[in-house]
């Protein structure tokens, strides 16, 4: 038998024995391996969630910047007046308590309509 065929024979026999031992792995070890795999997969899912939360504040800042630009560039006001109003609007938007005011939009619309009548009356 040549050296190479002896190598091949040994390799083949070793592989067969190895495969047999893998197939007959006990239930306890199989269970431990499954648990280890699940922990690794949790890592992938949690890592993705972490990455999303890392970008969330950046998205919030970008949104605030867009709002500031839109508010700051609108209207026919003078530059100083526009800046003051823009800052005031950002304060309102940033203040969580002010959001309650938005729920009463219909009330304020009505108030605007009736106020001139009241002044004239």
């Amino acid at each position: 038998m040549s050296d190479q065929s002896e190598h091949d024979d040994l390799e083949r026999k070793a592989r067969t024995l190895f495969e047999d031992s893998v197939e007959r792995l006990d239930a306890h070890t199989r269970s431990k391996l499954t648990q280890a795999r699940n922990r690794a997969l949790d890592e992938v899912k949690q890592g993705a969630t972490r990455r999303r939360w890392i970008w969330a504040p950046a998205g919030g800042l970008a949104f605030a910047a867009i709002v500031a630009v839109v508010i700051g560039s609108g209207g026919l006001r003078s530059a100083g007046e526009a800046d003051a109003v823009a800052l005031e609007d950002i304060d309102i938007v940033a203040d969580s308590e002010s959001f309650e005011m938005l729920e009463d939009v219909e009330f304020y619309t009505w108030l605007q309509d009736v106020a001139p009548d009241r002044h004239s009356g």
């Binding site: 002896e6 190598h7 040994l10 390799e11 026999k13 070793a14 592989r15 024995l17 190895f18 047999d20 031992s21 893998v22 792995l25 306890h28 070890t29 199989r30 431990k32 391996l33 499954t34 280890a36 795999r37 922990r39 690794a40 997969l41 890592e43 992938v44 899912k45 890592g47 993705a48 999303r52 970008w55 969330a56 998205g59 970008a62 949104f63 867009i66 839109v70």
Partner: protein
């Protein structure tokens, strides 16, 4: 067009996950698909990886720890890499874990040599499965297979580390020379040398009849 209508397009995945639940599903789908692919990959190799670690370390718990560490490292650091790269990367991490464990043992052995009065905590804890009764007697042919595997394991355990790695990756895992070189972090020429020496030594130790 209302200003909000253009926001999802501007913010990309972040905005679509906020504004549109349907789009949110499409954002998460690649992550779930990646997790499913990694699950399939790890399930396909975990038992073989454990047996290889067990042969190298000759200890069940150490082998399990090494495989678990390798799985976690692969998921954390390389989970987003193409799946074709996972196998050599996984085995590279596993071989590093095995070497770390062997180094720790050598250090512990040196310390124990200096302090012979101490006993390692693991040894003192004992084997929790020692009291579990043995399996039913094996049929003769299975007994012969078991004995042949035990002889192979003993011979493999006596090989130098790199020869052992080269033989297991090539013969057991079926990797070619290039894949083995990637997993071992060495040249293809080194793989051939380690593998050839391993086969010669095993042949001598196991005998022609094996």
């Amino acid at each position: 067009m209302p200003a909000s209508a253009s926001l999802p397009a501007f913010f990309g995945p972040l905005a679509t996950s906020r504004w549109d639940d349907g789009a949110r599903t499409s954002v998460e789908e690649p992550i779930l698909e990646q997790a499913r692919a990694l699950d399939r990959f790890l399930a396909s190799i975990e038992k073989r990886a454990f047996r290889m670690a067990r042969i190298a370390l000759r200890h069940d718990d150490d082998a399990l720890d090494s495989v678990q560490d390798a799985m976690l490292q692969l998921a954390r650091r390389y989970g987003r890499r193409p799946s074709e790269e996972w196998r050599p990367l996984f085995y590279r991490i596993l071989q590093n874990r095995i070497r770390d464990c062997q180094r720790r043992r050598r250090v512990q052995a040196r310390i124990m040599a200096w302090l012979p009065g101490l006993k390692l905590q693991d040894d003192a804890a004992g084997d929790e499965y020692a009291a579990v009764p043995d399996r039913a007697p094996l049929p003769p042919e299975q007994l012969a297979v078991d004995q042949a595997m035990q002889a192979l394991e003993r011979s493999l355990a006596e090989l130098p580390g790199r020869q052992q790695e080269a033989f297991m990756l090539r013969a057991f895992e079926g990797m070619d020379v290039a894949q083995t070189a990637a997993a071992m972090g060495c040249s293809e020429g080194s793989v051939k040398t380690h593998y050839s020496r391993a086969v010669h030594t095993l042949r001598e130790q196991l005998g022609v009849a094996w």
